[in-house]
């Protein structure tokens, strides 16, 4: 690969490991090799690291450590929440689930599987801002509703959903509320009590911890059936020998995020706004997808009319800038993003859209360079599409 200076603007896809987190992880990998279920010294050492991480993560989201179930990532946490809640009530008539049209595939595909198993699913629409209306949740409730699942922040737009309002509705109706918080954690404050959620999914690699580790917060008293079997780990909710080094890293990342959140949010929001304002001012035929208000501070989704988003991502990558056309998981798909379609974008405009997600490493100078590259790229693409 040619040596160009590389800048990373895709933190919603994944983040690099924070140096502090790396240090914790490496020391665990090297030294804490016991099985946390073992009785002896080595097992106890692992158990201590595991429980320390549980306390660190719990403290970051204002939960009780006993309410944290470590998983193999955010997708697994979402699967456990949806399948676990529905299966815990499998014998009852509670066979309806409410979610939104802009959820991550980890939720949407699990809902599709539940439908095949006979569960009715309501997918709420969102407005052009990308936000679900709490009243729509209320209207969708049925006597047999078993679960409401709404994401905290959307991965493509950054749109923050009115979770506290929805949780009041859920509570009144006596329906548990699951929130996919993968894209919110570390970017905006998360307090599970203040939000009033019953289940909350989170992922390590979006908060500068490694891939392959995540957690599900399960409020005490929430009925949750296991979806995999084989051991008593994690209070029988997630069997399998605990991945202690990654879990310790997640704990360290949570502690670090607790310290950095306010400062990061303020700095990244200023950088993000600077990026957006410069693009809107210097490149015509552009605009912000979704609402500019109530967004995670690091995320910007912009359309560039008349350009092919896929070509733009490749062109920018060759110049050293990493951005994405949408969710990394759906890159290369022919159908435009379900999120952009849900907020009313035409297929053409959705395919002409890019997501920029900033993180700790980004600087004002990098944003300036990105704006310049965008200006060049858009002009180039528009010129050749006129000639074609």
């Amino acid at each position: 690969m040619r040596s160009v200076q590389r800048f990373y603007f895709d933190h919603n896809a994944t983040t690099p490991l924070a140096p502090e987190v790396l240090e914790v992880m490496v020391s665990c990998l090297g030294q804490v090799y016991g099985n946390a279920s073992s009785i002896h010294y080595f097992g106890q050492a692992a158990k201590q690291r595991l429980e320390q991480a549980r306390r660190e993560l719990a403290s970051f989201i204002n939960a009780n450590p006993a309410e944290i179930v470590f998983t193999g990532g955010g997708t697994e946490a979402d699967n456990l929440a949806l399948l676990g809640v529905l299966r815990a009530r499998a014998s009852e008539t509670a066979r309806h689930l409410i979610t939104t049209a802009i959820e991550h595939p980890a939720v949407l595909a699990t809902c599709a599987q539940l439908e095949r198993e006979g569960v009715a699913v309501t997918r709420l629409r969102v407005g052009s801002g990308g936000v679900v209306q709490p009243d729509d949740v209320r209207r969708a409730l049925r006597p047999e509703t078993a679960l409401i699942s709404v994401m905290h922040a959307n991965n493509e737009l950054g749109a923050i959903q009115p979770i506290a309002e929805i949780s009041r509705i859920a509570r009144e109706a006596g329906v548990p509320l699951h929130v996919d918080g993968v894209q919110a954690l570390g970017k905006i404050p998360v307090d599970v009590d203040e939000l009033g959620v019953d289940l909350y999914s989170l992922s390590g690699h979006k908060i500068y911890a490694p891939k392959g580790v995540g957690a599900l917060y399960v409020r005490k008293g929430t009925r949750l059936a296991p979806v995999s079997f084989g051991g008593h780990h994690e209070r029988e909710r997630r069997p399998g020998t605990e991945n202690v080094p990654s879990i310790a890293a997640l704990g360290a990342a949570a502690t670090l995020a607790g310290r950095c959140l306010a400062g990061d949010a303020e700095r990244l929001e200023a950088l993000r706004d600077c990026l957006e304002n410069a693009v809107l001012e210097r490149i015509h035929g552009t605009g912000v997808n979704g609402s500019r208000w109530r967004r995670t501070p690091n995320t910007s989704n912009l359309y560039f009319d008349g350009v092919d988003g896929e070509a733009m991502v490749i062109g920018l990558d060759l110049r050293g800038f990493a951005v994405s056309t949408g969710a990394a998981c759906s890159s290369g798909a022919i159908t435009p993003s379900h999120v952009l379609t849900a907020i009313g974008l035409s297929g053409e405009r959705a395919r002409a859209s890019l997501r920029f997600s900033l993180g700790r490493s980004n600087t004002a100078a990098q944003v300036d360079a990105l704006v310049e590259a965008l200006e060049f790229s858009v002009a180039h693409l528009r010129r050749i599409s006129v000639n074609a």
Binding site: M1, V4, D308, A311, I314, G315, D317, L318, R319, I384
Partner: protein, 373 residues
């Protein structure tokens, strides 16, 4: 960026992998791109083992091919991307392919793909990412002829691998921006090169048949595709007639037949019978003896001129009417319409099939080509 890179169409096969590696060895800056054209999982009934099996290996756009291309790109240290042209491929290759078959003609999707996808959409993508030229693993040669001011297309040195038959639709603009680095090499030489450069795909077998049609079973593909799009072929059976109009039997749809076909007629006769023509209007298939396939002339439509600007006067040429045909001596005559050429063979040729390409050669030079009416 210093030098504009060359966009290499990498299929994951030995030919395009060797092209990429050769260009890198020559010190050129390249970008590897694999075109995702068709999703094999779309028509699950066509997959071996049915819907539950993994996407077929060694077929169009399989995950294995992308894996191989990515591995080669990594090995030679070049940027690599998968670009998705599934929408364009379906509109401009698959749909016309199906429509042609239903109209009783025998299409060549590879030529459509070259015209509309590989040398059009891909070139656009190359432009878009800042690449100046594109390169493919086709066996063909190009050169710029100063006297005529034209980019010329020539047969590959390896006659057994020559792919110019599928490239007759290339425009001057497309040729001016395309490199065929394998045109001077034979297939064994390419494999040897791949081996010597340590490419992981050096021993990979060649792709066969039409990439999106599993096992070359067109009829099964069309049935599945039409079922998916909710449009069944209008009539699914009709008579098999002799050239003198006698009814010899029944068939299950004209799209199962192509001119020159001998097998699958379901007729028990003494002498071997061949499909002479198919008629979608009457849903009839006409069959006859081998010599009844002979035609002395035909008209080519939508003719594209490559190495020459056009027909000023009748021109002698060797004309190839299907990929495996040995080009036969003929004379090309202009008609009132510059896009239509009348071809008269010196000796009548078997199975001049509507829908196939007719490519005009003068020795190694590709003069141009069109579609058989």
């Amino acid at each position: 960026m210093p030098e504009a890179p060359i966009a290499v169409a990498m299929s994951g096969g030995v030919d395009s992998s060797t092209v990429a590696a050769l260009l890198v060895r020559q010190g050129r800056s390249i970008v590897g791109m694999t075109m995702q054209l068709w999703n094999q999982r779309r028509l699950p009934e066509l997959m071996e083992g049915g819907a539950s099996s993994a996407p077929g290996a060694g077929r169009c756009c399989s995950l294995d091919d992308v894996y191989d291309a990515r591995r080669v790109a990594e090995q030679i240290g070049v940027p690599y991307y998968v670009v998705n042209f599934e929408r364009q491929f379906e509109e401009q290759v698959v749909k016309p392919f199906v429509a042609e078959y239903l109209a009783g003609r025998t299409p060549i999707p590879c030529t459509l793909c070259n015209n509309y996808i590989k040398f059009d959409r891909f070139l656009e993508m190359a432009d878009a990412v800042g690449a100046g030229l594109m390169a493919t693993g086709h066996y063909a040669r190009t050169r710029y002829d100063v006297a005529s001011g034209r980019y010329q297309l020539l047969r590959a040195v390896d006659a057994s691998k020559d792919q110019t038959y599928f490239l007759f639709g290339l425009t001057q603009q497309q040729l001016s921006r395309t490199l065929f680095p394998l045109g001077e090499l034979t297939k064994p030489e390419v494999r040897e090169l791949a081996q010597s450069m340590g490419l992981a795909v050096a021993a990979k077998s060649d792709s066969q048949e039409i990439c999106f049609v599993p096992n070359g079973d067109y009829a099964a593909f069309m049935t599945a595709y039409l079922k998916e799009s909710g449009a069944a072929p209008e009539a699914t059976h009709g008579p098999i007639l002799s050239t003198d109009g006698r009814r010899l039997g029944e068939h299950s749809g004209v799209h199962h037949f192509t001119v020159g076909q001998r097998r699958g007629l379901g007729l028990a006769t003494g002498e071997p019978l061949y499909v002479i023509s198919t008629n979608p209007q009457s849903q009839s298939v006409v069959v006859g003896g081998r010599d009844e396939l002979l035609r002395g002339e035909f008209t080519a439509r939508a003719v594209n001129w490559i190495s020459v600007a056009g027909l000023a006067a009748p021109v002698r040429a060797e004309v190839k009417i299907r990929n495996k045909h040995t080009a036969a001596p003929a004379t090309l005559f202009a008609t009132g319409d510059p896009a239509r050429v009348r071809v008269i063979f010196d000796d009548p040729q078997r199975a001049v099939t509507p829908g196939q390409g007719a490519v005009f050669y003068r020795a190694d030079l590709v003069l141009g080509g069109g579609w058989i009416e």
